[in-house]
Symmetry: C2
Subunit: 440 residues, 2 copies
Amino acid sequence: MSQTRVDSAPYRPSRRAALASGQPISELMHQALSRPELISLAAGFVEQTTLPLAPSKTAIDRLLTDVAAGRAALQYGTTAGYLPLREALLDRWLKADGVSPDSAQVSVDQVVITAGSNQLLHLAAESMLDPGDIVLCAAPTYFVFLGTLANMGIRSIGVASDGEGMLPDALEATLAELDEKGELPLVKAIYVTSYFDNPGSISLAEERRPQIIDMARRWSRRGRIFVIEDAAYRELRYEGEDIPSMLSFDEAGDTVISAGTFSKCYAPGLRVGWGILPRDLVKPVLEQKGNLDFGSPNFAQHVMHAVLEAGRLDAHIERLRGAYRKKRDAMLEAAEQHFRPLAGVEWIAPRGGLYVWVSLPANIDTGPKGTLFSRAMDAGVLYVPGQYCFPKEGPCQHNTIRLSFGVQPDDRIREGMRLLSEAIAAEMDSSDAEPIEAIL
Amino acid sequence: MSQTRVDSAPYRPSRRAALASGQPISELMHQALSRPELISLAAGFVEQTTLPLAPSKTAIDRLLTDVAAGRAALQYGTTAGYLPLREALLDRWLKADGVSPDSAQVSVDQVVITAGSNQLLHLAAESMLDPGDIVLCAAPTYFVFLGTLANMGIRSIGVASDGEGMLPDALEATLAELDEKGELPLVKAIYVTSYFDNPGSISLAEERRPQIIDMARRWSRRGRIFVIEDAAYRELRYEGEDIPSMLSFDEAGDTVISAGTFSKCYAPGLRVGWGILPRDLVKPVLEQKGNLDFGSPNFAQHVMHAVLEAGRLDAHIERLRGAYRKKRDAMLEAAEQHFRPLAGVEWIAPRGGLYVWVSLPANIDTGPKGTLFSRAMDAGVLYVPGQYCFPKEGPCQHNTIRLSFGVQPDDRIREGMRLLSEAIAAEMDSSDAEPIEAIL
């Protein structure tokens, strides 16, 4: 059978494919991968030496030595995920919130296991959003979720925030403005990274939590407005006390979706995340998941459960906190040494998380096409331009940078900070003569 | 801070959520779960006792004992997946096709690792399909993929098939008919389960493979028509020789997407699948995946690679084949004993896969609302109504049943078949008096 030899007919990308290809972050990734000698202060990966070999080995040994347990782990699971794991993590969550299981509004059938918290965000988005709908986010916010939204044709609108997270007054003003424009029915969710957010390592202040939930409910006049709480970094706390989750303030139990993960606090390679959902979102989210992958890999769920059962998670988290605290201190010390002398360079000292958010003088453009970015690359250091972290609509600060102390060892952090400070100093010298308009 | 106490505002499902909630198979699953005493000949799970404890334990022990390898496995991976695993499985695929790596048209950058082959099907669909687009499928075909398509608002159209898979003449006729109606530009893909398909355990005949690819290319006048080859069951062969994949006939390298998985031939709990993609689909598929989960769980990929490296996969597959051959024989013997006496009851004897496809007399409705289904449930046996396996448009046989010999042990298979035959006999007796119109 000979084939007709013709040129390839054109591949016509779907609408989603066309939207996805515009994501700027992939360009950055390509640049980073093509220059492996760079000191990357960009990647949000976790520190290699903290990865939990010993507890994982013990847990897996035990699991695979027990024939019935081992087989169960290697078989298909259910779409919602391994029940004992869901019970254990709900228990853990409620304990952290200071809620007794008996008085809790949520039960285990509202918990679903996903491939990282990211998949939960995606599934929740698929279950409530149509193209043209609106999600309100803090500005700045987690850029991967902005990519997910853009990919789906969703509008993201930034709400001004300060060192304690999204400003309730700014949220109220944004909602009122959208209502005036007749766009309130398009608003389906408010997205908040409640603990040590990516990119600023800022936690939403405790007193703002019920205010934002209350606001979501009050403005749900044209249909439900959900609050999506991304708690991926909750356990990476180096100072101070834990505060109750947004979920714990959702008295009616119909508003908050909480997403969590063991990726940051245990091992991203296992990729076990979860969501705790309002009752009427459980079925739609499971149906979406059923059509995607009918359940996350079962083996990793059984391993995480075995780690929890053996009481190894908390010990690991303590070790992690020590390691990251040290790296954070290295970055902050380097910032004092190298950034402090530069007028107009400011940063937020994080109490948890993996990131330091830096603001430069307003006339410095940190974007991938600006001269600072190429100066930094030439000097041998890579950062994430802050503009990637701003929703498409709303405020955007082109003079910001996200740095991560997650991956690099202390000495590389210090060296990277020194190199970056030199690039910034050079940029400040040259841009004194050049107003921002000429750069943008 | 007190909350405004009001009733919950309505949750407005997204279009996708609304489409997903109509999937009939979830009803069936609920029924099955609520009656655990049933003998399920419905589930396509794999046999519990064949799950590879020993080779997995050996592989993981080795992996976690090597500090660098162990850490790499517990860290984030890349969106495309673990390179050595992609190399190993491409190598294996080419070897099975009798293609030397030097003369192969495909290279490792066209391989992407996914959470089972199902996720690859989903990602490919997202990259090429918009609501209202058309995918042509064999009738019957894999119902989970039909669900994925329905969820996305895609039209699935069935193409008549026989004991050797999709009929090229019927495909040609369907394409010509769509062209006449002006709908050819909507046709984006032809979906074919090339080996031991679900639900019929039918392999597409070797000589039809290049014919279908040729046809896809010839009809690509209004944009590319891809051929999606689902090869999930390729390794589950109990008789005869392997045949070359559809990919091997894609001389221009622009048409065939091949999806495979280790779920059926190794362990579904690890959930490692893959796709081999035409060059211009690689970027869009990776961008979709980046927005969903930025890469499948890394640990399971390293485990699968270690299993392959240790040469343990082939030995396991041999063991599997022996076990499933025995179970298939048990089901076929029971069919001879209990179904043969029933006039008009026919089935296909599979040479691989996990399923037996049964046709009843034309006036028997096997659907979930028909009396046979409830008779079978009352007798204690569950089956998948064949109608679920037919695309929304095109031929549908309401008198068909999908049975699986994957999960149940031999004696339960025999007992399930006996109970089902009694239900069918009773149904035939009662429906003699009742024409099909009265039932439907």
